[in-house]
Symmetry: C3
Subunit: 131 residues, 3 copies
Amino acid sequence: MAVPKRRAIVSLHREVERLVAQSGVQDGLVLINAMHITASVFINDNEEGLHHDYEVWLENLAPFDPSSQRYHHNRTGEDNADAHLKRQVMGREVVVAITAGQLHLGPWEHIFYYEFDGNRRKRVLVKIIGE
Amino acid sequence: MAVPKRRAIVSLHREVERLVAQSGVQDGLVLINAMHITASVFINDNEEGLHHDYEVWLENLAPFDPSSQRYHHNRTGEDNADAHLKRQVMGREVVVAITAGQLHLGPWEHIFYYEFDGNRRKRVLVKIIGE
Amino acid sequence: MAVPKRRAIVSLHREVERLVAQSGVQDGLVLINAMHITASVFINDNEEGLHHDYEVWLENLAPFDPSSQRYHHNRTGEDNADAHLKRQVMGREVVVAITAGQLHLGPWEHIFYYEFDGNRRKRVLVKIIGE
């Protein structure tokens, strides 16, 4: 998936639904995880105001600072230490039940990818097990 | 489950133990997740002082504020943006191993539901896989 | 595993790789979780500067304070309330896909144990399911 901005919240929901249907698995689990260490997969509301609130809140908890004064990680030449911190708050992965061939979710649960250091192609792993 | 307060920590431990025993699964995994996006399932100590500390700490990290100045989500008419933030710190789900027909946990691990926007009935999903 | 300091980040990566290979499982999931409630298992960069940044950041979010003024949990005689809070930020567990008999990870994903209240022996659970 192309992530053309530094930070972005991208819905994975339809694609995960499609992959689960295609798998034919009726009863099992699906793991959805970022394959990058500056990104998260999370489940929450599909509402733009809330996504804005996450941005502001995470920036306050772990501010972007490309200097190497605040973050030692940036002494390696990187500028993305804050992204490694933000990702820990939002999590790496979600595990969702599959029941009767479908994602077994509450009515407002929506699956998202959250990129904290984008501007390049990114990958998500969807692993389905069951029968 | 009825959650008669706005915020509450409710033990799920005995119920999950019961469901695992009832399933007959000897070796596998159990996923326990909130079906709501303003709640968490987490594992930690069954100790009231610590639960009080979580309340104070989370309120400090993501304060309740029903206005729509601080949180854009509350422009939708909701007042629970803080609950969507707190849930991300505590997590949506836990995955626990089943070995020899029982929850495979450390001695102090206890499974809880954490509600951040209650006063109504709430649901938790317990999904058991294995053989 | 011996954790001779109060706080330490310990790589589990090679050991999990070894256990997955030994299991013979070609396609499945592996759950890796702390069996202690003052510790985390997480996936992020194998880079010392970043590990230093986690230390500073978590200490700021949930400061160590052995007194029972700040943390009620410490009224039980414990001094580790901060460790129970830090563990929630970093998470209890990770679930990783197994594909073609190997851990299915992105290029920089590395599995770590993070101890927040050590100075004693600690245990991690590695549960492999699949076929």
